[in-house]
């Protein structure tokens, strides 16, 4: 049976990731149970649904486990400096406005060292998709706390519990001017794929905070039994879909993070605005 016919009959056809992957790079470096691989796969399926070709995409990252993502994909890619992915991406986009820019970044990369770049990218509303792999920790460097580490959580640098209140990545993005803001998880895989697709299709700065798990550092230090246990407790039980909010009593919403598209508005895009400035200057 052809793939087309099977799809029609709703029979299963596994997705062929190979056309988007650089040959010979798998298995990837991520630890057993790390959510980063789940996000990569959802992203590739989203790209396939949109129908983008490899050459139409440019993926940029900073430094961190999450920032290793571009190394596996057969797109235009750039692995840059810690926290600076958005600045490189901004330059690439302004020089090549037709490219689809996707930035893969960690919560540390995006919101700590890269926090300033993050808010100003959102403020400009430049057309790019920022996927924040939010595992509440600096994975690559040994599990130090990050700006998204929930207060009280244990990390290598907060053995008695993190004492700082954490950022809400989505609120920060919205307040800074991003025109598309969403939250997804690596547990809710189908929803993750749909959310990433919507983010890429949106014109302007799109931010998706994706809750995923670092079982090796965050998990072990906070007494989670496994990657699945983290997905169950943090991603499944710790979130509520925006579609369900109105149906649930307030006590069921307590302490939960909202999932889904949290904010989407139209706004003039930065490269379009810049083209007008160039026109004016040449007049």
């Amino acid at each position: 049976m052809t793939a087309e016919a099977a799809k029609k009959q709703k029979l299963s056809v596994p997705f062929d990731y190979s056309k988007y992957l650089r040959g010979g790079k798998l298995p990837h470096i991520w630890c057993p149970g790390c959510g980063h691989g789940i996000i990569l796969k959802a992203l590739l399926r989203a790209i396939d649904k949109i129908g983008l070709t490899n050459d139409e995409i440019c993926m940029v990252s900073g430094i961190g486990c999450s920032s290793r993502t571009p190394g596996y994909v057969d797109f235009n890619t750039m692995h840059t400096l810690h926290g600076r992915a958005l600045s490189y991406a901004t330059g690439i986009k302004m020089a090549n406005p037709d490219l689809n820019l996707i930035v893969t970044t960690g919560d540390g990369d995006a919101l700590a060292i890269g926090g300033n770049h993050f808010i100003h990218t959102c403020r400009r509303n430049i057309d790019m998709t920022i996927l924040v792999y939010s595992n509440s920790i600096y994975g690559m460097t040994g599990g130090q706390f990050s700006p998204t580490t929930p207060e009280g959580s244990k990390t290598s640098t907060s053995p008695y519990g993190a004492m700082e209140p954490n950022f809400d990545c989505c609120e920060l993005a919205k307040a800074s001017g991003a025109t598309f803001v969403a939250r997804a998880t690596s547990y809710h895989v189908a929803e993750l794929e749909r959310t990433i697709k919507a983010a890429i299709e949106h014109k302007g700065t799109s931010v998706v905070e994706i809750l995923d798990q670092c079982p090796i550092y965050f998990g072990r230090q906070n007494k989670y039994k496994s990657a699945s246990h983290m997905m169950e407790m943090i991603e499944k039980d710790g979130t509520v879909s925006v579609k369900q909010v109105d149906k649930l009593p307030p006590e069921k919403l307590e302490g939960k993070l909202l999932r889904g598209i949290l904010h989407q508005v139209e706004g003039e895009e930065y490269c379009d605005k810049y083209a007008k400035i160039i026109e004016k200057a040449q007049d």
């Binding site: 299963s12 997705f15 990731y17 895989v189």
Partner: protein, 67 residues
């Protein structure tokens, strides 16, 4: 019996990629998979509903379900 004639899916596991995280085992709705040492194996193919959740949640490109 219809059951005997039932076409079974084919579950392909890439043992070189599987890191033994057990996410697919823990979340399979019909308990098809199990861990055997460091990698996942199929325990009960008959129970597989072809939902694909094991593939979708596998971080390692290690499991695929063919009809």
């Amino acid at each position: 019996m219809a059951d005997a004639a039932k076409k079974l899916p084919r579950i392909e596991i890439n043992e070189k990629f599987c890191k033994g995280c057990s996410i697919c085992v823990d979340f399979c709705p019909t308990d098809v998979l199990e861990m055997k040492g460091p990698v996942v194996v199929v325990k009960d193919l008959d129970a597989c509903t072809r939902c694909q959740l094991c593939d979708l949640r596998c971080p390692d490109f290690a499991i695929q379900v063919f009809d």
